[in-house]
């Protein structure tokens, strides 16, 4: 490791995992700071889960290495496991057991026992605001509550860092918001959070966000930093019948200083350089029919699309180059 690992909870260097010919994670390097909410954003199949599984000591890296919570994943995965909490995407709890049975089991799996275990169960249930649900059969709980129980079971042993793999997949928006307020509370009490998601709005809650595309990590920064880097300039949302023509996108792209045009719902998002002379009137004039032009700010979705586009272009040129060489 080039940096002393005690400064960072997670220190990843050239982490690579191949499955046969397929490279799921390709030379990824980053670090996670103490007490940070670190978001890992990417489409399904981009390599988020593979990364998280390697960092949790569940999967050996093909190349590269990482230090997680003070231990190398390649050499001492068992030590890594003692020091982290993990909430997997596919499974969180045993459905036929009661909430308390589940917590007792996972507490025991982390070596907690007796009075200490009882105390911790009470504490974590208080933390996720589920006291009184101890006797509930887990399979009868709604998804949002079940996720909170799963989070409770992942922090029983007071891990310094918790890995959450798509913790809010399939949970309703209200429960998602609630879950995120728990995550923020946990982080403010000093627990580092490493969370993967494909919800852009959730990524806004993160201190820093890594964007994973096709096994690589082309972007990593704070949400604002990402927006400034990958979606700079001014943004407008354009709606209306004036967009009906098939050449609306081409007309907008022809505007001076235009950086990007993306479809969103029935409308278009236009991004122009800061120094571009384009304004609302210019946009309306560029389009054949009446349109509504609204000032807006960049979102992580803009960043994501820009990064994916840039990546596709790069891949495209790489392919073209390969083709030329062949």
């Amino acid at each position: 490791m080039s940096l002393p690992s005690h400064e960072h909870v997670v220190e990843v260097k050239d982490l690579t995992r191949r499955f046969g010919d397929f490279t799921a994670v390709d030379r990824v390097s980053f670090h996670v700071e103490h007490g940070e909410i670190f978001g890992y954003l990417g489409a399904n199949g981009a390599g988020k889960s593979t990364t998280i599984r390697m960092l949790c000591g569940l999967l050996a890296p093909t190349e590269g290495d990482a230090v997680v919570a003070g231990a190398r994943i390649s050499r001492r995965p068992e030590k890594v496991k003692r020091n982290i909490g993990y909430m997997s995407q596919k499974f969180s709890l045993y459905p036929e057991l009661r909430v308390r049975d589940n917590l007792e089991f996972f507490g025991g799996a982390y070596g907690l026992w007796g009075r200490e275990l009882d105390m911790r169960i009470d504490e974590v249930l208080g933390l996720v605001d589920l006291r009184g649900h101890e006797g509930d059969r887990t399979q009868e709980l709604p998804g949002g509550i079940r996720q909170r129980v799963a989070l409770a079971s992942a922090i029983l042993h007071r891990p310094g860092i918790v890995f959450l793999d798509e913790p809010t997949a399939g949970v309703d928006p209200v429960a998602r918001r609630r879950f995120w307020s728990l995550i923020r509370a946990l982080a403010s009490s000093g627990t580092t959070i490493f969370v993967t998601t494909h919800y852009m709005d959730e990524a806004e809650y993160c201190g820093r966000v890594g964007l994973m595309v096709a096994g690589r990590l082309p972007a990593l920064d704070t949400p604002d930093g990402l927006k400034a880097t990958f979606a700079p300039g001014r943004l407008w949302m354009i709606r209306g019948s004036g967009l009906a023509g098939t050449d609306a996108v081409a007309r907008l792209r022809a505007l001076p200083g235009c950086l990007d045009v993306q479809t969103q719902g029935a409308g278009l998002r236009l991004r122009v350089a800061m120094d571009s002379p384009v304004d609302e009137a210019a946009i309306a004039a560029a389009l054949p029919g009446p349109v509504e032009v609204e000032d807006t700010v960049a979102s992580l979705e803009d960043v994501f699309l820009a990064v994916v586009d840039a990546d596709a272009q790069k891949a495209g040129t790489a392919r073209a180059f390969d083709g030329g060489a062949a």
Binding site: K13, R72, S88, L97, F106
Partner: protein, 413 residues
């Protein structure tokens, strides 16, 4: 992790190989007693969780506790190799005290049951063909007279030979009856002393350990082994395959729980359940069928534990390989149920099998366990007679647990 990672894959970025692994002094070595304590806490947590699963699952309870009793009663009562109450029709054309004495001899031992009288040979054939009786005894007129004159008297026994075992038993019984009658007649006429050597050659046989030849005593040990094999393999393979299917195995692997701990924690509750099964079946066997217990209890307990460990290990191996409840069920049925029933000596004697099956039966653990059960229960054997059975059981158990634990580890990364 099975993969050996070579650090320093990217030399340009400053190889981490120069760095000592992890933290040289950051964490003091965890004490041995602390590790042991945590080992037991983790195994205990796993076993307690598994016990809860068993308690919450009616299917498991049924398979574990009701099925063994059902099987025991089914095999003890329903399937019997002894044949008695063979329906017998009599055509007594002699009507003498001697002829009636012969009929009484036939039905005295419950092997034959008198279902009616028929007048003549034609009627005899009819009742046989109609299935109303399986045997017809014909005593011709002049039977008593021939006997009194010291001549050979002939009686006829007409048999329905469709059921081979009934026929053989009837034939054997007829021979015995002939001897008994001959002796009685000889004694009465003063030709030979009563109970003496009335025949030139007589073989005396003693049947020991199961003198009444009751097949329930022969079958109950087999039922015990069969039920244990089936339940142990099936339940463990299902329990572990379920965790793979649901993905909870991954969650387990993310905790510090080790492979061996998972294996032990998973097997312990089922071992306990198996112990209850053995007690249940043997107690019921003693109570319902008068199964004796003549030999060494420690040997029986040891053999039971070894046999169960082997079967549980086999179930574990199946689930580690298949990772799928459906396939695991079928594999359990094929690999545990059929050999334990057919190739273990449970129902069919091994020495009568064709050579390939006889050789194959040596890798069927139920074979050794049944031998131990029969030895301990019926013959009163101890470790000096049974160690050749205990050894293969121990070998099989060790092998299964070792292989399944190893496979567990390999499947991880």
């Amino acid at each position: 992790m099975s993969e050996v990672h070579t650090p320093g894959g990217a030399p340009a970025a400053g190889p981490p190989a120069g760095h000592p692994a992890g933290h040289p002094a950051g964490h003091p070595a965890r004490s041995r007693s602390d590790r042991t304590r945590r080992f037991f806490i983790r195994v205990g947590a796993l076993a307690a969780k598994e016990a809860l699963h068993i308690r919450r699952d009616p299917r498991t309870l049924y398979l574990g506790l009701i099925l063994p009793l059902v099987m025991l009663l089914l095999f003890g009562f329903g399937i019997s190799f002894e044949i008695d109450h063979i329906p017998l029709a009599v055509s007594d054309q002699d009507h003498t005290p001697e002829s009636r004495a012969l009929v009484d001899d036939f039905v005295a031992a419950n092997e034959f049951e008198l279902v009616g009288n028929v007048p003549d040979a034609d009627a005899a054939t009819e009742v046989l063909a109609a299935g109303r009786s399986s045997a017809v005894l014909t005593i011709p007129q002049g039977y008593a007279e021939s006997l009194s004159r010291g001549e050979t008297a002939t009686v006829g026994l007409l048999l329905d030979a469709v059921d081979v075992s009934s026929t053989q038993q009837s034939l054997a019984r007829a021979d015995v009856m002939a001897q008994v009658a001959t002796g009685r007649v000889a004694a009465a006429s003063g030709l030979m002393p009563a109970g003496g050597a009335n025949l030139p050659l007589s073989a005396r046989t003693w049947t020991r350990f199961n003198p009444a030849g009751r097949s329930s005593l022969y079958l109950v040990p087999g039922v015990t082994a069969y039920v244990l094999a089936l339940v142990a393999v099936l339940l463990t393979s299902l329990a572990v395959a379920r965790e793979w299917e649901r993905g909870s195995m991954e969650q387990l692997f993310a905790t510090p729980v080790g492979r061996l701990e998972i294996v032990i924690g998973k097997l312990l509750p089922y071992l306990g359940m198996g112990a209850v099964q053995v007690l249940l079946v043997l107690t019921a066997g003693a109570w319902v069928f008068g199964l004796p217990f003549r030999g060494s209890l420690p040997v029986l307990a040891l053999a039971s534990v070894l046999f169960m460990l082997g079967m549980l290990g086999q179930g574990l191996l199946i689930s580690v390989i298949t990772r799928n409840q459906m396939v695991a069920t079928q594999a359990s049925m094929l690999s545990a149920m059929l050999p334990s029933m057919l190739l273990s000596g449970f129902m069919f004697p091994i020495q009568n099998m064709p050579l390939p099956l006889r050789v194959f039966s040596h890798i069927v653990p139920a074979r050794y366990y049944i031998a131990v059960l029969r030895g301990v229960l019926l013959r009163g054997n101890g470790v000096s007679e049974l160690w050749p059975e205990l050894l293969p059981l121990a070998l099989f158990a060790g092998l299964m647990i070792a292989v399944s634990t190893a496979r567990f580890q390999r499947k991880l990364a």
